[in-house]
């Protein structure tokens, strides 16, 4: 079987005709497999959804219990057969519940990675490489300029600034699903014990993360506090709020933003960020390369992001590669630095 018979890029997303399933469809379909809960990958309105327990829970929290007509839980590592196709979910290390989807039939194995990272994250299961014939990768940070520094060093920058400016509130923009909770957990690992104040848009997901055992520590809602009294505290909010009037009511706020995009100075300046924190939930350039090699795949498909550079690099090391130019990904979270408007209002 040729790979193009097993999975086909369509306007709705990747489609497997043998099993009649779509992976991360961007429009309503009959049967959908979902890699993770970010709203550009996990949309409401499908007939049936197969995803990890955590991803199903996140979709229910965001869209209500009626987000799909029927749902089925995928246990990481376990095989499910749909017609002649074997399906397996394997941790992707991106956010809580995120998974790669292994699609296999007649000896041909394709791995759809969804979004993934290789860096340690205390809030979700780590990425597990799966050997395969075709590896379908994202390329959000698919340029050699993206080399993420260790996340704990970036968090140390934040805590150092908090120490230096005890009279100012540090407002950290972070995507509401995954990044915000990871930042909280990293702050705890660094030994910070004061309550962390959160924007209302983060409440539901942060509670969910905490109930799943993520070490986020004590959080308090900003709305239940006197903003004027939060000098010296850390506040976490969706990125769209850092430049809002909302953020200006804190004492002399320091604007921080936790994102892989903060590697590019202009990106930080465009958003008025004074304290850029390069913390990403996506693989950087080096990790994209390392992961592609680890899978042993001879053919690489690139779904979204900076596909051109990654495809070019694959060519230089003798791997066959092509961009899929899938449209519709990157509306939430870092896959596009710009899509959090929806993020802020969704919850």
């Amino acid at each position: 079987m040729r790979p193009s018979e097993l999975l086909i890029p369509t306007p709705a997303g990747l489609y497997c005709p043998l099993a009649d399933i779509h992976i991360d469809p961007v429009r309503p379909v009959g049967r959908a497999l979902i890699t993770h809960g970010h709203s550009d990958h996990a949309r409401a309105g499908h007939g049936a959804v197969l995803a990890t327990r955590e991803t199903l829970a996140i979709m229910a929290l965001r869209y209500g219990e009626g987000f799909t007509q029927s749902r089925q839980e995928a246990v990481p590592g376990a095989m499910t057969s749909i017609g002649p196709v074997d399906i397996r979910f394997v941790p992707a290390g991106h956010v809580l519940g995120s998974a790669q989807i292994v699609v296999e039939s007649k000896g041909l194995r394709i791995v759809v990675s969804g979004d993934y990272k290789r860096e340690r994250d205390p809030t979700c299961a780590g990425f597990e490489p799966v050997s395969c014939d075709v590896f379908i990768t994202e390329a959000t940070f698919g340029l050699p300029v993206f080399r993420h520094p260790p996340a704990d060093a970036e968090i140390a920058k934040l805590l150092e600034s908090v120490r230096l400016f005890p009279e100012r509130t540090h407002i950290v923009g972070a995507y509401s699903l995954g990044k915000a909770q990871r930042v909280m957990a990293l702050i705890r690992e660094a030994g910070y014990e004061r309550p962390i104040y959160i924007h209302g848009a983060l409440e539901t997901l942060t509670e969910f993360y905490a109930s799943e055992g993520a070490p986020v520590g004590e959080t308090r809602l900003v709305s239940a506090s006197d903003r004027k009294a939060l000098a010296g505290e850390i506040v976490i909010c969706p990125p769209s709020s850092i430049q809002d009037l909302w953020a200006r009511k804190f004492p002399d706020p320091v604007t921080a933003f936790a994102s892989g995009w903060m590697r590019i100075r202009a990106r930080a300046r465009q958003r008025g960020v004074e304290l850029p924190l390069i913390v990403s939930d996506h693989a950087d350039w080096g990790d994209l390369q390392a992961t592609i090699r680890e899978t042993g795949a001879g053919e690489i498909w690139v779904t979204h992001g900076e596909a051109d550079a990654l495809v070019h690099w694959c060519g230089t090391v003798g791997l066959s590669a092509k961009p899929l130019h899938l449209v519709g990904y990157g509306d939430e979270g870092e896959a596009e630095s710009t899509g959090e408007a929806a993020d802020a209002t969704q919850l």
């Binding site: 202009a266 300046r269 465009q270 958003r271 008025g272």
Partner: protein
């Protein structure tokens, strides 16, 4: 170097002027000589290295990276120094980070053959921020939102002096400015102002608002044409040894005299003129497009001097002989200016004429028709009027209540977005350079023809929407350029504002817009309702 890099890094992210001043002042206060003086020189454009050029940096990175990956990265980041700083392969076991004075003397004194090895060894030893700062230093354009004036203002705060006082002694000083710091810190005398032709900060105007006219009394003002050229300060003075020193400063105090010898050699009297730099040919002022041929040239050919003769249209006098007359009211300065220009008696310096008016309605009529209201053949280079209080002293900066600009209304046209490219600088990594077109009829039917390109006018939020539109509606990719959907029923209409229109052989449409910018995004309008080329052609000079 690390401390200097830290300063540049902090400044690059700091949007507030006062915080920038505090950062620079704190650095200057706590950093020893000669490091702080070299840093001040870097921020005031005072460090120029003959042999260290961007081309050298490009060559170094080309030896170490794949050219396609570099090109894609540079296109994305939009800044050479930053791209190289981020892509430079780390080398373990490199030597300790270099010190700023060593870097400066290395860049100054090394020959072309030694420099690449030297710079590479520094880049190996520095971290990402250090590499970025070093490359900014080498390429000369810091672009961290710090003007020369701001850096000098920060330096002034070390002592109890006004920034203007630093300006007065500045040209007599050399990096690392040890006598300057000694003076500011009360350890030494005021440096002698040896420069006979210093820059004096320009006086700027406010845009006039609709309601202002009710409050302003016409008889208290004079009006002049607002010329569409380059604001300059032409200063000439005599050095102690009798030599004439002449400088042509831009509005921000950069000396651009080397590009305009035809003007500087005409300034043979001591004094400081404020005026507009223009190109004047056959007794008529030419459009800004023509002036552009003379801008940003390192060397000037005789052919250029003959084809694009530069000219100063003077509107103020700051220094008359040795006398600083900035405190005199404008009406007095004007009399001195008239006499000064007459004494100068040069073909390349003339007076900006006043506009006769007795009330604001009359001025409005003149602004609407400069050609018939005194500007005559020069009307093409008029972009509105200036309104100045007759009693205004010449004050630095943008003081309120003295000078107003009343620009000509912009032309508006609805165009269709056709191509987009990633921007540089502030807009880098977003699709922010937009090429747009209007409809025309050809033998094959209706088609869009590109008429211009704009990369500003929209808000940051609109930029995000435009960027998303481009990425979602890409038809084709030509290297860094994306072609976006542009059909009668599908595409994006942009309302484009511009100042003027010229015939141009360089553009397919035969037209060139002056100062085009996106004034509104018409998400509501289908492309078929965008404007036609005929609508633009009626706006050409001499067409109505």
């Amino acid at each position: 170097m690390n401390r200097f890099a830290w300063l540049l890094d902090r400044l690059a992210y700091e949007p507030r002027r006062n915080a920038k001043l505090a950062l620079i002042a704190d650095y200057l206060r706590t950093t020893p000589d000669p490091d702080r003086g070299l840093a001040l020189a870097a921020m005031t454009g005072g460090l120029v290295f003959q042999n260290a050029k961007p081309g050298l940096i490009r060559a170094l990175i080309a030896e170490r990276t794949d050219p396609v990956l570099f090109a894609l990265s540079y296109d994305y980041v939009g800044d050479l120094s930053e791209t190289v700083a981020l892509m430079w392969p780390a080398r373990h076991g490199a030597n300790a980070a270099p010190h700023l004075p060593d870097v400066v003397s290395g860049l100054r004194n090394s020959g072309k053959t030694d420099l690449p090895r030297l710079i590479a060894s520094w880049l190996d030893a520095l971290d990402e921020t250090g590499r970025w700062a070093l490359l900014k230093l080498i390429t000369g354009a810091l672009r961290i939102g710090v003007s020369s004036r701001l850096a000098k203002t920060a330096a002034a705060s070390l002592g109890d002096v006004e920034p203007d006082e630093i300006e007065q002694v500045w040209h007599g000083l050399e990096p690392p400015y040890e006598p300057l710091f000694a003076w500011l810190e009360g350890r030494g005398p005021r440096p002698a102002a040896t420069d006979p032709a210093p820059f004096r900060p320009a006086m700027l105007s406010h845009p006039i608002e609709e309601g202002d006219f009710d409050k302003l009394v016409p008889a208290e003002f004079q009006a002049e044409w607002k010329w569409d050229g380059i604001r300059v300060q032409a200063v000439s003075g005599t050095r102690a040894d009798g030599a004439r020193i002449t400088r042509l400063y831009s509005r921000t105090g950069e000396d651009i005299g080397a590009s305009f010898p035809d003007v500087t050699e005409a300034l043979v009297l001591d004094g400081a003129l404020d005026g507009e730099l223009l190109v004047r040919r056959e007794n008529a002022v030419q459009s800004f497009n023509t002036l552009q041929q003379r801008l940003n040239r390192k060397s000037v050919t005789g052919k250029m001097l003959a084809e694009y003769p530069a000219h100063i249209r003077a509107y103020d006098l700051l220094v008359d002989g040795e006398e600083d007359i900035r405190d005199l009211p404008l009406v007095e300065r004007r009399k001195r200016l008239v006499a000064f220009v007459a004494r100068l008696s040069s073909a390349v310096v003339d007076l900006s004429p006043p506009i006769a008016f007795s009330d604001w309605e009359e001025l409005a009529a003149a602004r609407a028709d400069p050609e018939a209201s005194g500007a005559g053949v020069d009307a093409e280079a008029v972009e509105g009027c200036m309104i100045k209080r007759l009693d205004s002293p010449y004050l630095p900066g943008r003081p309120k209540g003295y000078w107003y600009k009343w620009k000509r209304d912009a032309r508006l046209v609805d165009c269709v977005l056709m191509y987009a490219q990633r921007g540089h600088g502030k807009r880098s990594s977003f699709y922010s350079d937009f090429t747009f077109g209007v409809w025309r009829t050809t033998e094959e039917g209706e088609e869009l023809v590109p008429v211009g390109k704009a990369y500003f006018g929209f808000t940051d939020e609109e930029l995000l929407e435009l960027d998303r539109f481009v990425r979602r509606n890409t038809l084709n990719r030509f290297g860094p350029v994306r072609e976006v959907t542009h059909e009668a029923g599908k595409g994006l209409v942009l309302e484009v504002a511009f100042e003027g229109l010229q015939r141009s052989t360089r553009h397919k449409s035969g037209l060139a817009m002056r100062f085009p910018r996106i004034s509104r995004i018409r998400w509501d309008k289908p492309p078929r309702e965008a404007d036609r080329i005929e609508a633009l052609e009626t706006l050409l000079p001499g067409q109505g």
